[in-house]
């Protein structure tokens, strides 16, 4: 797979964007794994094998959630929309539209000048893992 997660030349991307892209790729892989286990569990008749796979799928749930939380911390706009959609009862699409409208002023061409990843900040966040 090489460096497939990069859509632009990696050497032109700032480190924060490369990290963001890696975690996006990881999030995708965890979601795929969750889907694969779901299918395997649906067809597996052996209860012991089912238990093993259910446990493995639980790991993927955890990994997916950790990846997602990391990405939301680095992208305030994404986080704000997620806060309007996740863990709420009611109409999912309606919540999504409301959250998007609250986060972005859709008539505002100036959102193009926001920093990368839709963030309103420079996206620096924690540097605890960046020690030399």
């Amino acid at each position: 797979m090489g460096f497939d997660q990069y859509h632009e030349p990696p050497e032109e991307l700032p480190p924060a964007t490369r990290t963001f892209a890696r975690l996006c790729a990881s999030l995708t892989e965890e979601a795929e794994a969750i889907g694969w286990y779901e299918q395997r569990l649906a067809v597996e008749p052996d209860p012991e094998a089912q238990a093993v796979m259910r446990d493995a799928q639980g790991e993927e749930f955890k990994h997916f959630s950790m990846d997602l939380e990391f990405l939301l911390r680095r992208s305030p706009a994404w986080r704000q929309i997620a806060q309007g959609v996740l863990f709420k009862s009611g109409d999912i699409v309606e919540h999504g539209e409301d959250a998007e409208a609250e986060t972005f002023d859709e008539d505002d061409p100036g959102t193009d000048s926001a920093p990368p990843n839709g963030s309103v900040s420079l996206g620096i966040g924690s540097l605890k893992g960046a020690l030399r």
Binding site: R79, S113, V120, S121, I124, G125, K128
Partner: protein
Amino acid sequence: MNHLLRSLAPISDSAWDLLDEEARERLTSALAARKLVDFSGPHGWKHSATNLGRTSPVAAAPCEGVSAVQRRVLPLVEVRADFEVSRAELRDFDRGADDADLAALDQAAHQIAVAENVAVFHGWKDASITGIAQASPHELLELGTVADGYPRPVAGAVQRLLHSGISGPYALALGGEQYQRVVETAEHGGYPLLDHLRKILEGPIVWAPGVKGAVVISLRGGDFRFESGQDLSIGYDSHDSEVVHLYLVESFTFHVATPEAAVPLKA
């Protein structure tokens, strides 16, 4: 449009990218506290306070038969560093110039990073922030003025943390002057002092502009929390025919959960 009002500035998208990247580079090297303490957020511009989980008594209740306590919170402080950029410089950049003069931005980035470091390590009374060195119950160790002598107090600080049950790895935040001394010094036999100190700490050494002396701190996590509301951003203030007035801004607070997890070293 959000509160930064960036779309009102007479700045092209590519020039905004230039300003953001320049600020990011300058800030990342100087933001020492974020390299050592836990980071929570960013929680957004509307986030105003950190929950401390504690209460204060309320003297009088509004009627008989009830009692009350009031929640204590740590309010976030908004920090802003203004700077200006020449419109002629921005126009030249849009024409392809690769040497735009962004000295004022660099200075503002350094200043706001220093403010953050000082607040976290030494506290900021008017903003209700107690710093790591202020909160530490350990006796202040003398770092001295000769870099050759640093290993002894640093090892002493690590020893104190171990005796207090604070596990590692440990890091050393060094003020600007002290950091320069360390990187310039080779001990007897030519062994770099930087490497010797890293071996003692089993962790990194961080350039911490604004820090007075040094601080040895545990990196195990859970001891110090930096809470970010609006993370560092560039906003637009105003412009005239010559310059654009911009600013770097952030909102944050800082809380020490385990005061004994760091030892200050006096310069």
